[in-house]
Symmetry: C2
Subunit: 184 residues, 2 copies
DNA sequence: TATTTGCTTCTGTTTTTTCAGAAATTACGG
DNA sequence: CCGTAATTTCTGAAAAAACAGAAGCAAATA
């Protein structure tokens, strides 16, 4: 029996698909992800074809994409030749993997380009000062974000969860003006 | 003289445009944004048309979109009937505005839907337990992220910058196991 | 080793998005 | 107010992306 027959599961899967399109992810890909996320058992590609009414070829491509993000993996099912697929169900892990991959694909190349431009502009006397200054600042800004991310993603998950729950209260430790020094 | 004649400015603008497309933003829109970001003076729409070689109509739409994000604003230029436009140059403000707007447009509706589905599923005995459980967890997860964001965005900018620089070191205050209690 | 089964890659079609130009509307100056 | 300049909205064309089905390939079975 298909998950798509449950109106709520269906609503979830369709919405997830639309979400994807808004963030530059193919609709089919995010629908496949949503379906696997809700599924209680590993699904073979054919099953996904039937439920989402997609062509076999696209399901194949979509699964590859999701595996590239590391949020879907192939599993072997006893006595079945076909590959089966399951989605990551730990939502922290899922988010972290998505962010990591998008950084790798999109942000890192951007930082590399900005570094390059900033470097060249520092030499170039003929460049309009505004251009130099603003590209340099953009480079610094995105690099700073990148460094912050690299540090935070290294923290153990329970710490992250704790920090998240703490919300704005972390600010108490770093009231500006009084620089908090760690006693190493 | 056009900014597009500077190879570095041009590279920046073109790359910014491609970045946009990857995150679900129209290429023209992000190019317009990049051009305004680098520009030393407010630009009228015609100027943008000339430099980026876009149709006047699309520049109009693009500017409206950017104003919707709050990262471009109209300014009046002495003795010129035409509207002129400038981009936000404080990158923190820029980022915060983009995030705020995307949350409003895409995340908030998602949370609303998930709340709805989770609510209904708690009643529904016929629903597969996996479906109920996972939709509920997704709702909790995204809501938690949303709450965290709402708190953090309220912090003064200098505090944010400080926290960012602190990076993973904030973890020292919240070592798991030892729950940090605030003394209110 | 031939045959079936499952998976992927390729190709042409369909759908969606982007975009230019025309038409319409609004604001401004005389 | 009338005419003109500036901007926005509408519409159809062009470009890009998504997709289905076919063909190709690989692996397993017999």
């Amino acid at each position: 029996m298909s998950l798509l027959d449950h109106p709520d599961a269906k609503a979830f899967i369709l919405h997830w698909g639309e979400m994807g399109t808004q963030w530059g992810v193919n609709r089919s890909v995010s629908q496949i992800h949503a379906l696997l996320y809700l599924s209680s058992a590993p699904l073979p590609a054919d099953e996904i074809v039937d439920q989402l009414k997609l062509a076999r070829s696209n399901v194949s491509t979509g699964l590859k994409e999701l595996q590239g993000y590391g949020i879907v993996r192939r599993v072997h099912v006893e006595g079945d030749r076909r590959d089966h697929f399951v989605a990551e169900t730990d939502l922290w892990d899922m988010l972290m993997r998505i962010v990591a991959e998008r950084k790798r694909r999109e942000v890192d190349p951007t930082i590399a380009l900005l570094a390059d431009l900033a470097e060249r502009l520092k030499q170039d006397q003929s460049a309009p000062p505004q251009v130099r200054e603003r590209i340099v600042r953009m480079h610094e800004f995105i690099s700073t974000l990148g460094n912050w991310y690299e540090q935070v993603r290294g923290l153990p998950k329970p710490t992250l969860v704790l920090l998240m729950k703490l919300g704005g209260k972390v600010a108490r430790f770093v009231s500006p003006g009084k620089i908090t020094r760690s006693k190493d």
